[in-house]
């Protein structure tokens, strides 16, 4: 009965439109008057709300560049607050996909939510574009034909640091993160390349999420006296960790390395404590690429504040939609054709151009960055065109 209803729903407007065409002899094809529906599933409340906002801004900027119409069709946004609660993810996804019949669903920020979304979008007639959540499995074991990611996998952001750390002369390292997926995946990826290069992870510390009382762990690090520390923290936890690390007097003595999120959007709150922290990531605010400069100028003009990584990833999700729908000349009903286009596209991203792997994760360059004057400054390219191994993906 599902199909019958759907058929009915698409037949009716088509008939109406056909009548209109015969009257007005418009040049547009039947479905060109329908908006392209873009569901936006981001956290607008709770801990991740800031990231949700940036992502949405970036997404809207990309589509605004197209005049909010792609191939003659207007773009309609349907925004839903995930509250970063995984338990709500399936329900909201179902609302966007089954009720609103969104062509694209952009979201989420949080990996747990991503898992719930993937589960409910599997086999449905919508395309999901993940603008942040880095869970390896999203384009690994759980990869789906209709799921793309414009951000990164956790693996990509931490793997290059292992080799870099060893090359910097660090042999014994303590790793530390929150005890959750993103953190553990980052530590594992770091461990993989660091031990392959010949280094040794002397201790791995997992802090219960979202605890931010780090004193006892820092004391422990001080007693181990490793060559360096590699950590994964993001957002508020990252701010707190970097400040505490400095306040305990460890910064000058034991170099602090991290996955890029440690200093992404947090350096202002961290203040001088973040100076000199070295991280790897697929983007840096100061990246000297023409596209990045123009993107950041426009973003600041539109929203009155500087762009960040999350804005870039949202922007690329928008570019991806625009480019794909343009390529199919406005036809969004044939999702298989859309997906095929998306797989072939090269996205001209502010982070540098990238295209998608078989598992639909960006093949992208990872930069080695250092905080200088509160800015993540690129020291060098850590690994060029790095592809996630997509372990467990059968695409």
């Amino acid at each position: 009965m599902n199909n019958k209803k759907k058929a009915f729903q698409s037949v009716l407007p088509a008939t109406v439109a056909a009548c209109l065409i015969s009257m007005s002899s418009s040049a547009y094809a039947a479905d060109n008057s329908d908006p392209i529906k873009v569901g936006v599933m981001l956290p607008f409340s709770g801990v991740y709300a800031g990231l949700g906002e940036s992502t949405r801004n970036g997404l809207k900027q990309a589509l605004k560049e197209q005049g909010n119409t792609i191939a003659g069709r207007p773009v309609e946004f349907i925004e839903m607050d995930t509250e970063a609660k995984p338990a709500r993810a399936p329900e909201i996804t179902s609302s966007l996909v089954d009720n609103q019949h969104a062509d694209f669903v952009v979201g989420p920020v949080h990996s747990g939510v991503a898992m719930g979304m993937i589960k409910s979008i599997k086999g449905k007639d919508s395309i999901m574009i993940i603008p942040n959540a880095g869970a390896n499995a999203a384009t690994g074991a759980f990869c789906q034909p209709n799921v793309f990611r414009t951000s990164f996998s956790s693996w990509q952001t931490a793997f290059p640091m292992g080799k870099e750390a060893y090359d910097m002369g660090y042999k014994k390292i303590v790793t530390m993160s929150w005890n959750y997926g993103f953190g553990k995946e980052s530590l594992a990826a770091f461990n993989e390349s660091f031990t392959a290069a010949g280094g040794e992870v002397v201790k791995k510390m997992l802090v219960p999420f979202p605890k931010t009382e780090f004193q006892s762990y820092l004391t422990e690090i001080a007693s181990i006296k490793p060559d360096a520390v590699f950590v994964f923290f993001a957002g508020g936890g990252a701010v707190k960790f970097v400040k505490d690390y400095d306040a305990m007097g460890l910064k000058g003595k034991i170099p602090l390395l991290g996955s890029g999120f440690l200093t992404e959007g947090t350096t202002k709150a961290q203040g001088p404590a973040s100076e000199g922290v070295i991280t790897t990531l697929h983007y840096a605010d100061t990246l000297d690429i023409e596209k990045n400069t123009s993107f950041r100028q426009q973003y600041e003009a539109l929203y009155g504040k500087p762009a960040d990584l999350f804005a870039v990833q949202g922007y690329d999700a928008g570019q991806l939609i625009a480019a794909a729908v343009t390529a199919t000349e406005g036809n969004t009903s044939d999702k298989a054709a859309l997906i095929k286009q998306m797989e072939q596209l090269e996205i001209d991203s502010p982070r540098g151009a990238f295209h998608f792997s078989k598992a639909h994760n960006p093949i992208q360059t990872i930069y080695l960055r250092k905080v200088v004057n509160g800015q993540n400054t690129v020291i060098k390219t850590a690994l060029e065109n790095l592809e996630d191994p997509a372990r467990g993906c059968k695409l």
Binding site: S45, A87, P90, D98, N99, G116
Partner: protein
């Protein structure tokens, strides 16, 4: 003696289940609304079990979501990953195991009462939350997936296909009806008589020779395993479980729903769940700051509608109830 406490309850229950029975015919094919209704009905079962505990037994808990989450986890952990198991058999397992856990937990928390019980249930729920959130084998913060939904045959006959949203909806509706009937039966039973007594006046019940601990424990186990059943349905609906199901705000929200509906009225749990979720859905589409309006609404309700919507309906119909 009628199973209903008053006229408004009778009218509401008849109306609700008749409408519930036929509404999928009008929503034909719109899986979103059917899913949404199923979700709210599952929530209503959860809220009802909490309402029984808080409103009928007088045991206030802020950790009821622990059992909601456990229901989902027990199934996901027990069932083989790539094999359809029997729904009814696993319903039995889920309720049995969660009931057993509730028995152990009850032995601890029921030693306390009032505000202490509120806090210790909260703490135990947090502990369970962290147990699953930190675990490696149970998926940590990201939770676990259910790859194959159970089949529902009884003696080889299968009426329901859980992959079909409408079928699943009817399963939820049936469950809610059973749950309601079950609570009404035990409320009117000899057991219910003692529970009524110990809720109003535990000291007197003791003086009359009742070991109130035993009665509380049984009520706690019953309510907890029904909460687990609701969590089990929730896990089946979308095919995954997550520690977030146990988080304390789920318990708190459920309490708000029970209160909105009218504490202790049991059928009020249905009203509360639908009103809260309806408002949430509506306000969320209006503004990003929906929490502000929900918060204000809760405060206004607490200060004005002391008996919730069930009490309000009863006052409207002029009934006093025969309890």
């Amino acid at each position: 003696m009628s199973i209903f406490s008053n006229k408004s309850e009778k009218i509401f229950i008849y109306l609700f289940f008749v409408i519930g029975l036929f509404i999928p015919l009008f929503l034909e094919g719109n899986t979103f609304y059917i899913n949404k209704l199923s979700t709210i009905i599952i929530l209503a079962i959860f809220v009802m079990s909490l309402d029984y505990l808080v409103g009928r037994t007088g045991l206030i808990t802020l950790g009821h979501a622990m059992f909601y989450g456990l229901g989902g986890y027990i199934f996901t952990i027990l069932a083989p990953e790539y094999e359809a198991v029997n729904f009814w058999i696993y319903t039995f397992y889920v309720m049995l195991i969660s009931g057993f856990i509730a028995l152990i937990v009850g032995l601890i928390v029921l030693r306390t009462s009032g505000i202490y019980m509120i806090m210790i249930t909260l703490a135990l729920a947090q502990m369970t939350f962290y147990f699953f959130a930190d675990s490696v084998e149970y998926g940590g913060q990201d939770g676990l997936f259910i790859y194959v939904k159970p089949e529902t045959s009884i003696f080889g006959l299968s009426f329901l296909d859980l992959e079909n949203e409408t079928h699943f909806y009817y399963l939820c509706l049936l469950s809610l009806f059973n749950c309601f009937a079950f609570f009404k039966v035990i409320m009117n039973s000899s057991f219910g008589r003692v529970v009524d007594a110990l809720k109003e006046n535990p000291d007197r019940a003791t003086a009359l020779g009742y070991n109130i601990f035993h009665f509380r424990l049984i009520a706690y186990v019953l309510a907890s395993s029904l909460a687990a059943y609701a969590g089990y349905l929730f896990a089946l609906q979308f095919g995954f479980v997550n520690p977030g199901m146990m988080s304390w705000d789920i318990s708190a929200t459920a309490l708000v729903m029970a209160l909105m509906g009218g504490l202790g009225s049991i059928y009020g749990a249905i009203i509360g769940s639908f009103v809260y979720e309806g408002l949430h859905y509506y306000i969320e589409h209006l503004t990003e700051y929906w929490m502000f309006f929900m918060g204000s609404l809760i405060i206004i309700l607490v200060l004005t509608l002391k008996k919730g919507f069930a009490g309000f309906l009863n006052d409207l119909s002029g009934g006093k109830g025969n309890e």
